[in-house]
Symmetry: C3
Subunit: 136 residues, 3 copies
């Protein structure tokens, strides 16, 4: 069994933003030389998330709109008495800061319309993503 890690870094440019990281994740899996196992994509952040969906311009703006409706920025949150990002914390907690994929025959097993996104919700910031490939 082998565990292969790589810490990716990226910069976001807006408060709420989706960045497609599919190619970066697939490169880590390719470099790992692990043929069968799992790939964990993990953001060590409490105001961001990892989600999986189609990379289509309209849908990316729908995601931003949905987040702002369900996790309103000015929702009367108590955490905003000491900071201004309670909505991002709530959305991160309930969206999950990670996603996990099968690795089969050396590749990330995913559907045609499943791109992997870093979801920034308290940007712009410098952010990190840990990609771990476990298997053999």
């Amino acid at each position: 069994m082998k565990a292969h890690f790589r810490l990716l870094e990226l910069s976001t440019t807006k408060r709420v933003e989706l960045l497609d990281i599919t190619k970066m994740v697939e490169e880590v899996v390719g470099d790992s030389n692990i043929m069968n196992g799992l790939c964990l994509v993990f953001a060590p952040h409490a105001t961001a998330a990892i989600i999986v969906n189609e990379d289509e311009e309209g849908l990316r703006s729908d995601v931003v709109k949905w987040i702002e409706e369900v996790f309103p920025h000015n929702g009367g949150w108590k955490h905003n008495m000491i900071d201004d990002n309670a909505s991002a914390h709530l959305a991160s907690a309930f969206s999950s800061s990670s996603r996990i994929f099968p690795v089969k025959d050396g590749r990330v097993f995913r559907g045609t319309w499943q791109s992997i996104f870093f979801l920034e919700m308290d940007g712009p910031r410098r952010r990190r993503i840990m990609v771990e490939v476990l298997g053999e």
Copy 2:
């Protein structure tokens, strides 16, 4: 370490629908001969999800009602200018297309009221589910 894969296939019959796949998943774990490790249940789809909950008729219809309220089908979504399933994409992105379970002593470790469901949100369709058991 061993990685055991099986691709399940199923057909859904409604636009939004829950299918209990617990027995299918447990059969894969039994056939794997893996005693201790993990079981990943992964749907390679961007308009469906895997969720875990009690298999009770009223609750299944509550899940459908909740989805239609929180991810409204006619929500003025931009993605609907090129397709008609933005609500399913959003619900899939935020519900997650996978769930993972401990495998202990050759069995899926889960609670009495935790059944495993494939959640269709853009049916009816033919769908696939990858079940991976990793361990030894």
Copy 3:
């Protein structure tokens, strides 16, 4: 490869409540002597969840408020004809009853503001959490 399991037990005191279990999880990882792999934190319950976020008093009450708004206790749910906890079931199904973390150099890899919480939504009750560390 090694799989190390420990079943934690705790008691909750309110209907909806967050309990910080970070130290308990990290103790299991330390005791496992596994240096590189994964840590799965899994609640075998259909009316609770595991979430990850900042352990700040205001934010903890924001989480409770958000849950009660998005999963209303009196939402006209059909499951409430046989029980009174449909909202907890729905919130558990869509929040997920588990979270997974990289284990690197013998430690849980997580961000500074990422505490691990057991989220009770149908308390007070006795509850269990399975912590599994997989790796070597």
